[in-house]
């Protein structure tokens, strides 16, 4: 049993700098949870508290049903993969992987078996006698994973493990770590600031900002129903478009007036919630793929193409819409060029409304 539970956990550094004010989080056994957020949001501190590398100022941290606040890292049944791999430069790959086991005084033949098993799984067998400096970034990363694997930990902690790799290798290692999780059936806690990693790998994503959990849900729910402006902007690339809009009510229908146009809001939206905002300015959010830039008879907004980024399969159009900036994902066959006028129609079913002051979601 390797669930992890934070109960009112606080982390304050000397000088009264509180990084995590009051963390409550439950991670289920065998779950792959991603802690995501911008730099300084407290995600690494949270991971390091699980590892035992940071003391907990107050509150309780459970691994399984045991409070581990004062338990030494080696006794927590965890293994950690660091951002810069933290391999021992003077040891061979074999010794790097075996080091923890040697300290545990595990018999040599058992160490040998485990090291070779991990090396086989990670395709490292031919590198066992090399030192880290003779390895590529991806190989080093695999050694770091191997070092964690051989300990058969109940919890895997990964602190931005892919951030030092190039884009191609990152994609490959992403898949490898996901496969590893499926094979090992162990709890994984993965810290990243890369929302693509978060979306593609985790069973659940915990979005953090200033040490506070903003939203904690499955990747799809997070993407479809962000609870506030921060989550809406953080998850998704290119990020969600935000337009100031005034809510109006006409003939029993709610409208969002923005960029000189009136957009009829879908029926399914909470009318009571919308009613409270009539006449007020809110933030209308719509993802780039939910805006259609194709020229058609029905459209919502007039815009001008400012930049067109060809991505291969698609094109990202950066448009000016009466002073507001809108990004649209269009097929690469889109005929418009920089300076052309574009008529945008929004997918009404995918519109999000946020309170301008509290930044909390009003309706999806």
């Amino acid at each position: 049993m390797a669930s992890i539970t934070f109960k009112h956990v606080e982390k304050t550094y000397p000088g009264n700098v509180t990084v995590v004010p009051d963390l409550n989080l439950e991670i289920q056994d065998k779950e792959f949870v991603i802690l995501v957020g911008p730099s300084g949001c407290g995600k690494s501190t949270t991971l390091r508290m699980i590892a035992g590398l940071e003391d907990i100022t107050s509150g309780e941290l459970y691994i399984g049903d045991r409070v581990v606040n004062d338990v030494a890292p080696k006794d927590r049944d965890i293994a950690m993969v660091f951002q810069n791999y933290a391999l021992y430069p003077h040891m061979t790959v074999y010794k790097n992987i075996a080091f923890g086991l040697t300290l545990q005084k595990i018999p040599q033949d058992e160490i040998d078996r485990r090291v070779h098993e991990a090396a086989r799984a990670l395709d490292l067998e031919h590198l066992l006698n090399r030192k880290p400096k003779a390895l590529s970034g991806g190989q080093r990363q695999r050694v770091a994973l191997g070092r964690a694997m051989v300990r058969n930990p109940a919890v895997f902690l990964l602190d931005e493990p892919l951030s030092n790799l190039d884009a191609k290798l990152r994609t490959a290692m992403r898949a490898e770590i996901s496969r590893l999780h499926k094979r090992l059936q162990t709890t994984f806690v993965y810290v990243t600031h890369d929302q693509t990693e978060a979306m593609t790998m985790g069973d659940r994503i915990v979005v953090m900002k200033n040490g506070i959990i903003q939203q904690n849900d499955t990747p799809q729910t997070l993407y479809d129903y962000p609870c506030n402006l921060f989550v809406a902007g953080f998850i998704g690339s290119p990020q969600m478009n935000f337009l100031d809009a005034v809510i109006a009510e006409e003939d029993g229908k709610f409208l969002a007036r923005t960029c000189g146009s009136s957009i009829v809001l879908p029926e399914r939206m909470d009318k009571q919630a919308l009613g409270a905002y009539v006449g007020k300015t809110v933030v209308l959010g719509v993802r780039p793929e939910d805006v259609d830039a194709a020229v058609g008879p029905n459209y919502d907004l007039d815009a001008t193409v400012e930049i067109a980024e060809l991505m291969g399969a698609e094109i990202h159009l950066h448009l000016d819409c009466q002073g507001s900036k809108v990004v649209v994902r269009a097929p690469s066959t889109y005929p418009g060029r920089v300076g052309d006028a574009a008529k945008l129609s929004l997918n009404k079913e995918k519109i999000h409304l946020f309170d301008k002051e509290t930044e909390q979601a009003i309706a999806h």
């Binding site: 590398l53 080696k74 293994a79 950690m80 660091f82 810069n84 021992y88 545990q104």
Partner: protein, 280 residues
Amino acid sequence: MKTTASLTRSKRITTFLTYAALILGSVIMIFPFVWMILTSSKTIPESLAIPPTIFPKELILSNFQDAMESLPFLNLYWNTALMIVFRVLCAIVFSSMAGYAFAKLNFKGKNFLFGIVLVQMSLPSQIFIIPQYQMVAHMGLANTIFALVFPGLVSAFGVFFLRQTYMGIPNEIGEAAYLDGCNQWQTFTKVMFPLTGTSVAALTIFTAVFAYSDLMWPLVVNSDLKMMTLSSGLATLRGQFTTNFPVLMAGSLLAMLPMVILYLIFQRQFIEGIASTGGK
């Protein structure tokens, strides 16, 4: 805009000037060494002649015999070797531990203590000679090998130098060792210390060279000729009114031999050590 031809010409001039400066520097640096070799084979009048004679008329090898008879060279070699070995060992052991503590551990008064190390580094070593001598004398250890080693038990430079080295090692490596089950001592001995090889080699060379050339302390603390080092022993060859320069130079040459041999063996490490510290 400069043409390719003028660029090539100016590059050649720069190269010529650089080499000329380097050759001049080398000649200046090597001159005393060559002069010592030449003088060691001269007669006393030749060595004092004005204008000076550069090459001796005949090679007088008896100067070496005289030097060896004047000084107990075996004792001097042995004392110097022991002093160097112990000073180097102490510098490595204590400087490594202190450097690691200053770089990687958090404890009360760390900055204050490190400040003291820096102050000690910035003061001339001569001001410590009297208190150090008094300490050694009170312990009744004057005229011993320990007395020679005493000022080198801890090295402020070594502590500072290795602290910088440990600071350059990512904290994650120590944390990984901690997670692997190392305690602080194991982290230091099994993981951190082995990573400082180049710096420890540099510190070894510096400490050895400094100990070898240290004159004042051995001269003060060990007055018994048999307990002297090469440098202090050679100093006794200087008379109050006259000095037998050929014998002194022959003795100096003999004293230099072990260091020259060591330099030839460890030339690469020596140069790397100097390069890595940016020292002189």
